[in-house]
Symmetry: C2
Subunit: 348 residues, 2 copies
């Protein structure tokens, strides 16, 4: 299987075969080009370097979707399909379903004893997200506690590397604190301290140039989008409102079409040349958009083909998810044994 | 096996064979006469009326003993022995170990999505206990969340009746709210709403007359205490400091010896006569204490014998705990299936 990766992959310093990566997504909608640029392409690279677990975090998705759980369950298989479609190889990456791993709940419940409420409330990521979601006094307890649940996910598979954006760095610090508390309790380094692998890719803007591409913002191109949908999306893509006629000079900064070319065009010299012509005047939006359409369809065409193949074999997809979950549970059982022992828990 | 019960059992209105009781203890020390009067005697009665689960709540004990987990693990078998010693019959009451039931952690993690942080902070029982334990900014998240964990315990075995003291009533309200939220989500009454069974027994005072008998207050008579220990404890028991000579009139109110006679003497008419003579003057403390010694040793002698028998067969005790835990897990698996379905969770 040919791996499909980003035009310009970030370097991966110090990653060895001995590393274990934990990464994943909340299944609240189909994955889109923003995910691809921000994390999925990276997963394709990482699976060649070391062991990787891709967690479909349905329980975490429930922490702010408890009122609409169907949104979560509907998207579990879609997210699995998205991963298989882009070339995540189950022989090298274990795709695991969070809610099918009881060990995660057991670990999280134990870890809650090692973290104070004040520390959770101080977590900058949680504070930002509480604000974004408009939670005030009606903050679900599960949402406040989700950094502890993430610590369970990460330690369960003994992950040593966690790829995240800079905004998620405080979450990993919380995990490191939990790891240290467990090791202190155990009197031994029973859990590895995970390192952060900061994403080098800037966030992909939405089609409208307003903020980042988002599942629910209606400004995304899904990985499963067909050619017509891609064309229509590119047609309405935000460029430079001051660039009315082709012969006018245009702005490249803040121009969504160029942001996407930067992220996905495998020919950076060609993109540089286009930018120069656009700035100087004499290059119409339509010409740049046609290039982007070529680039995106070249990226998405094999993804669509693979997705269609897997979609015709749902039993196989379920089996892949089952095997990935079993592999993750085998690791998690070892972690849980160590953590239970640290807490002095006995089995009758 | 002869059941040993309280001198004056409380009535049990409306309890039928269709009921399921959930009760239990935090294994942080040996059980004592205060537990016996407050809850254990009641368990002996309840096991004759309906199905009963006795949960050894080691995970809950960790929520405020994470710094000294050995205190919890050391006491798991002791608490099991205490129950068998008083006559809890494994054929009628399932003794289950909380930490050996992963379903409880899974339920608790799901329920955390149905309860707000504000609601937990408002829980009067939690507020009182936070104050008692001197938690301030260092409140462990697990402690704040423990009413949700209790909701998991109660619903796991589909308990319809939960015997608690009045101070614990807010905990049960929280469980009822969780049950209603799950049933709303499921669109059906998949979980029964538990009823509270308020304890009719006033709390037994400590030997020193200061507050209630407590595990760590040093003012308790443990159920496993031998006759010498009981005699010594009764000797230093608080009576009426104004009652110096036998011929002086004495006070019965606040007199610990009479409080214990009220709780444990099977001959209430005899106690009433003693009280009258004590008030009038002419009855010395030693005489009343001798009667209490008789009463307590009559209660504790068969408990000691049974305890010694079970202590000689630790494998049998472990097997009882294992079978009780399995029975509870079988119920819990059914509850978990229903709750997972309500949240739309799927197994791959």
């Amino acid at each position: 299987m040919t791996d499909i990766t980003l035009a310009r992959p970030a370097p991966a310093p110090g990653i060895t075969e001995a590393d274990t990566v934990l990464t994943g997504d909340r299944p609240t909608g189909p994955l889109h080009l923003g995910h691809y640029a921000g994390s999925l392409a990276n997963r394709l690279r990482l699976q060649r370097l070391c062991r990787q677990f891709v967690l479909i975090a349905d329980l975490q998705a429930l922490t702010d979707n408890a009122a609409d759980p169907g949104r979560v369950s509907r998207n579990v298989m879609e997210v699995a399909l998205d991963h298989l479609a882009i070339g995540i190889d189950p022989a090298r990456s274990h795709i695991a379903l969070q809610s099918a791993m009881p060990e995660l709940a057991e670990l999280a419940m134990l870890y809650l004893n090692l973290v104070t409420v004040a520390r959770l409330e101080r977590n900058p990521t949680v504070r930002d997200e509480i604000r974004q979601r408009g939670f005030a006094r009606d903050l679900p307890a599960g949402f406040l506690c989700y950094p502890v649940s993430q610590a369970a996910d990460i330690t369960a598979v003994a992950a040593t590397l966690v790829p995240v954006g800079a905004d998620q760095a405080p979450m990993l610090e919380q995990t490191v604190e939990v790891v240290r508390a467990v090791n202190r309790l155990a009197g031994d380094a029973v859990l590895p301290e995970p390192r952060i692998l900061l994403s080098a890719t800037p966030r992909l803007p939405g089609l409208d140039g307003q903020g980042k591409m988002g599942k629910s913002a209606g400004n995304a191109i899904d990985l499963r989008a067909d050619a017509d949908t891609v064309r229509a999306a590119i047609r309405r893509m935000y460029t430079d409102p001051g660039h009315v006629r082709a012969e006018d000079p245009g702005r490249v900064e803040g121009n969504v079409v160029f942001a996407y070319l930067d992220a996905f065009d495998p020919d950076p010299a060609g993109v540089a040349a286009l930018k120069q012509r656009y700035r100087a005047g004499g290059l119409g939006d339509m010409a740049v958009k046609r290039r982007l359409e070529e680039v995106l369809n070249a990226l998405l065409a094999p993804i669509r083909t693979r997705r269609a193949e897997f979609a015709r074999a749902p039993d196989e997809v379920r089996a892949i998810l089952r095997r990935g979950t079993e592999a993750a549970r085998a690791e998690a059982a070892r972690t849980l044994d160590a953590v239970r022992a640290a807490f002095g828990l006995v089995r009758p």
